[in-house]
């Protein structure tokens, strides 16, 4: 019988935000069709490093395992991506796992992506429909428009676009392509468009669309294939027209 194949996984570990990070290596038995999450599950079952030292299970976030929840984003072999769709057979070994660097670290591979939700709120990325009486059904949307909006609506707030963006870092306050894309999505919606001006004002605020400098890594990193650079440029156009017209007429 052939000897069981093993996989080497190196994890950058950190017990808490204040602790110093250190790398631990794990040797895992290979099985067909493994993804990175499967490796982390195996480590949790038997948290022993490859040199036989007992350690704690690696903390990580994962949920849907089919690239629709956004929870398991991490830096795998230097590239920010979803761990569920990172198949072991397609990865160079040893597989290096690091937490995303643009968000506050919680523990090991877990980061706090709350800033994305706060920024979405600051940019008014929702359709306000709640009121004291029923306002009836919304306007119909042409299928062509639905098709564009659908692509934009697939954002899972994984944060890969922020992680790969040179303008998202501790020196700047750029909200990132995901949030700009939300502004475009909700401005496209006929009911959402009623608050387009408010969103376009917000997106010219601190960390707004002006921070985008077109390195365009976001569109390459997006696991959902959202045309993020188109969204950036479209929001640039809308924000500019809104600011010029606002300056003249408001």
């Amino acid at each position: 019988m052939a000897e069981a194949k093993t996989i080497l996984v190196r994890v950058k570990r950190q017990a808490g935000p204040q602790d110093t990070p250190q790398w631990e290596e794990f040797s895992i038995r290979w099985r067909p069709n493994m993804n990175v999450i499967a490796c982390l599950i195996d480590i949790a079952e038997n948290p022993v490093t490859s040199d036989g030292r007992k350690t704690t299970p690696v903390s990580y976030e994962a949920n849907c395992l089919e690239e629709v929840c956004g929870a398991c984003a991490m830096v795998i072999n230097g590239h920010s991506r979803q761990a569920c769709s990172a198949l072991v057979d397609h990865l160079e070994q040893p597989i290096r796992l690091e937490p995303m660097s643009k968000f506050p670290l919680v523990r090991d591979l877990v980061v706090d992506r709350q800033r994305m939700f706060n920024d979405a709120k600051r940019m008014r990325c929702w359709v306000p429909i709640d009121g004291t009486y029923a306002i009836g059904p919304g306007p119909r949307i042409a299928p062509e428009r639905q098709e564009v909006a659908y692509a934009l609506s697939r954002c899972i707030f994984c944060g890969n676009c922020l992680e790969v963006c040179p303008k998202v870092n501790e020196h700047g306050d750029f909200v990132g392509a995901a949030i700009v894309n939300q502004v475009r999505l909700f401005n496209m919606h006929p009911t959402g468009a009623m608050h387009a001006h408010e969103r376009l004002r917000a997106v010219r605020g601190p960390g707004g669309i002006q921070e985008c400098d077109n390195a365009q890594n976001c569109v390459k990193a997006c696991p959902k294939g959202i045309p993020l650079t188109e969204s950036n440029n479209d929001v640039n156009r809308q924000a500019l027209l809104d600011s010029i017209l606002g300056w003249m007429f408001h």
Binding site: G78, H79, N118, K121, R122, M123, R124, W126, I129, D130, G131, T132, A134, V164, P166, K167, N169, H171, G172, E198, R201, A202, V203, R204, G205, P206, G207, G208, I209, Q210, E211, C212, D213, N214, A215, Q216, N217, K220, A221, P227, T229, E230, N232, N233, D234, V235, N236, R237, Q238, A239, L240, S243
Partner: protein, 231 residues
């Protein structure tokens, strides 16, 4: 039952406490930075390459063109408003923008990401070159530079290489800057439009580089291919 299924007007508490962002000055100053790159700096670049192309016709015509420009009315205020202030603003604000980014081409070596980094370095080289160029050709000559002053500068191999590097950096920065402008002002939105804009901007950058180097050749080799126009 039906009354209970109707959505109630409950604002999530965390949404209520996050106020909408309001436009701040950085939007305005960023747009001014991007605009000054085209008007007036880009427009002046076109004029500058055009006037210097007279070196490809003859030294006399070049000197006449120079003296025409050197004797315009309101020369110093015009220079200050159309060249010096926009250039200083564009340069220093550009360095500020650079300081707010953190390049990552070693991890993500994609084409546009390279352009992002190149735009910053060529901008710096161009800024230093233009500063030196203005000092030597505008201030050391008391604003009376002519064909032979430029030819004398370019006869020095060190200065010549600085010119070549400067022209290439300026051309790249202008060409890629045009593409950036088309993105930042929402002129090219779709992926296809962005690609087309990139081709046009790239072609303009290459055109400037070629014309700039030909002008240098005119001074270095006293090469006037269009001399027959003047005869």
């Amino acid at each position: 039952m039906s009354a209970k299924t109707v959505a109630t007007a409950e604002i999530p508490p965390e949404a209520a406490v996050v106020p909408a962002a309001v436009p701040d000055r950085s939007y305005f100053w960023d747009k001014i930075h991007s605009l000054t790159g085209i008007i007036p700096i880009g427009a002046f670049l076109v004029e500058h390459f055009w006037s210097n192309s007279y070196a490809l016709v003859s030294a006399d015509l070049y000197n006449r063109q120079s003296s025409d420009l050197q004797t315009i009315p309101w020369r110093v205020p015009v220079e200050a408003l159309l060249i010096w202030i926009p250039l200083l603003y564009h340069g220093f604000y550009g360095i500020y923008i650079w300081s707010r980014g953190k390049a990552n081409i070693s991890r993500y070596s994609y084409g546009a990401n390279w352009m992002y980094v190149m735009q910053r370095w060529t901008g710096l080289v161009a800024f230093v070159f233009i500063g030196w160029h203005v000092y030597v050709e505008r201030f050391l000559t008391q604003g009376r530079s002519n064909y032979f002053d430029v030819a004398a500068t370019l006869s020095h191999p060190l200065y010549l290489s600085f010119y070549v590097i400067g022209i290439l950096a300026v051309s790249f920065h202008f060409g890629n800057g045009l593409w950036q402008f088309s993105n930042k002002w929402g002129l090219a939105v779709g992926a296809h439009a962005q690609r087309k804009a990139a081709w046009v901007a790239g072609a303009i950058g290459v055109l400037f580089a070629v014309v700039g180097l030909l002008i240098v050749c005119a001074f270095v080799f006293h090469w006037q291919p269009f001399q027959f126009y003047a005869q």
